[in-house]
């Protein structure tokens, strides 16, 4: 046993993912580093295009390979570097040690196979089970995610189920082999609000039961607030802030995070004239400024900000970090 410090389950160091486009190479993820501890729920938040989905995909080596590839960095899963892992070992790991669920439940399942056959395939791929055993196990998992009459539904086709139910099936499939880490990429964005709440609740419950860590990738701060213990904020391919949930929402340190929080419409007592928005636009990844990428939209920006890239600095006491020359307090 180590000296009281729990070793991180996942350790990402300097990950950089590049895409070749007609106009030149583009870095969707540019030198990010973060940790995920066992049993922890971490949210990766940011707007569309900030690189959060690509981050999730690269953990499993699923970045679409003709245009994209990991050009630098390490992804350490309990000390094992996934970036340099040969493909067949990577395949053994997917669904078994790390599972991922995606955004669109409508299209994520194979329409010509029954739900059961897809789940059994996954189970038998990673565990030595007979068809009968795998099927029984699948039915059990379906029950666990709250699907009524699982023994019947297991033989249904995806198009015979609602969106919420399909997403639950995805979750069941993802958890069926007992992974240590679940990556959920916008799992509820395509669902209606009520179903959203149910599915999120399910994920939280199951996480507890299965003792997994969860990385929740989303643009929705509300979802993060409800389910995560820690949040990582990304902007333009970089991590600009990480913090515990409460301190992030109470006192965000990066101006961008502050801007995001301010722009959430809230029920208030006093009326406001306008919804605050962050002025300007996300910079074009082909023409990145030399300094801080948020500088031209930030009202606190100075010349230093425009000339040098701020590094992500961790504060000693709180394990929170921020990449800014003039963080807010």
């Amino acid at each position: 046993m180590s000296s009281g410090e729990t070793q991180a389950l996942l350790s990402v160091r300097n990950l950089t993912v590049e895409f070749t486009t007609r106009y030149g190479p583009v870095r969707a993820v540019d030198g990010i580093s973060f940790d995920v501890n066992p049993n922890e729920t971490v949210g990766i938040v940011g707007e569309s295009g900030c690189g959060k989905t690509v981050t999730g995909l690269s953990l499993l080596g699923l970045v679409p390979s003709p245009p994209g590839r990991i050009v630098a960095g390490e992804i350490l899963l309990q000390g094992r570097d996934l970036v340099s892992l040969p493909e067949d070992e990577m395949q053994a790991l997917r669904g078994q040690e790390i599972s991922m669920i995606f955004q669109e439940p409508m299209t994520a399942l194979n329409p010509v196979l029954t739900v059961g056959s897809q789940m059994v395939d996954v189970l038998r791929r990673h565990k030595k089970l007979t068809r009968r055993q795998a099927r029984a196990s699948a039915i059990e998992m379906l029950a666990k995610v709250g699907i009524p009459a699982p023994a019947k539904r297991i033989d249904e086709y995806p198009h015979e189920m609602s969106g919420g139910m399909r997403q639950r099936v995805m979750i069941a499939m993802a958890l069926s082999c007992g992974p240590k880490l679940l990556i959920a990429d916008e799992p509820t964005t395509a669902l209606d609000v009520t179903t959203q709440a149910q599915v999120l609740e399910q994920i939280v419950e199951l996480q507890d039961e299965f003792h997994m860590a969860v990385i929740l990738v989303t643009h929705d701060l509300g979802v993060v607030a409800e389910t995560c213990q820690r949040a990582i904020v990304m902007y333009c391919g970089e991590i600009i802030e990480t913090a515990g949930i409460e301190s992030l929402f109470d006192s965000p340190r990066h101006p961008y995070t502050r801007g995001l929080l301010d722009s959430i419409p809230r029920l208030r007592e006093e009326k406001r004239d306008e919804l605050p928005v962050i002025p300007g636009m996300v910079p074009d990844l082909l023409h990145l400024p030399p300094g801080c990428r948020f500088a031209d939209r930030c009202e606190h920006a100075t010349d230093t900000c425009r000339e040098q890239r701020p590094a992500l600095k961790t504060s000693q006491q709180s394990a929170a970090s921020v990449a800014c020359f003039h963080p807010l307090d």
Partner: protein, 291 residues
Amino acid sequence: MSAALSDHRESIWGKAFYKFRHDRMGMLGLAVVLLYFIAALGVWLGVWGTGWADVDGPKWAPMSGEYWFGTNIIGEDIFQRSIYSTKTAFEIGLVVAVLSTILGALLGALAGFFSGRWIDAIVLWLMGVLDSIPFYLFVAAVAFALQGNPWAMHVAMVSTFWTTTGRLVRGEVIKLRNFEFVEAARAIGVPQFTIVFRHIIPNTFHILLVQATIVFVAAIKSEVILSFLGLGVQDGVSWGLMISESTLEVLAGFFNNFIAASALLFVLVMAFNMFSDSLQDALDPKKVAAS
């Protein structure tokens, strides 16, 4: 680089043009096609290829300074005939491509716009009937019905080649019909035919352009076989006629006629295919090309 990037247009044509210009295979194809076109133009204007019917050469002369490709079995200059055939090919290709595209656009748009009603049913039925009649039989029948008229082949080709364009346009129009700009036009009282012609059909031009190139190639290739069957070009000469003339010659060991016509045909078709491919690639990124 940033100046060029920041002012390239956002329209489908602007993007397509940019993409196309950088596609080397496509540009090469286009260049070759233009070369052939110039050759055809020259024949049409009487600048060259005029000696295609002169029978004053020796039988089966080999390639020489006087007869660049040699002569065929009755002493005609193969080179002259090959060049003349360029004009024939473009004639057939252009006439059939343009007419069938127009026909396909009109009928397809009509069917799509009035989808579900009797006009649509009739057009679909017509397409089904034409598609299920075997092509060569149809051409033969048309040729006889028109009593050997040299345009019989063109008529037959246009009558059958329009259906694919028609189906594609119909599908696109059905999609477009549901777009809001159509509803908006209707709401301010624009008459239906105007909507179809001024708003909807222009949005199918990218499909029409690609289909026209595909039909051009199909027409040229079909002519070869039709000429072999005796149904094709009646006056003048074409690569198809040259090839069918050569079928006996090759069994006697004389290959010039065959190789000249085949090679020229192949290069034109291949170049056109490459051009067509990059056109498709530029206009619709989901298309076939290897990337």
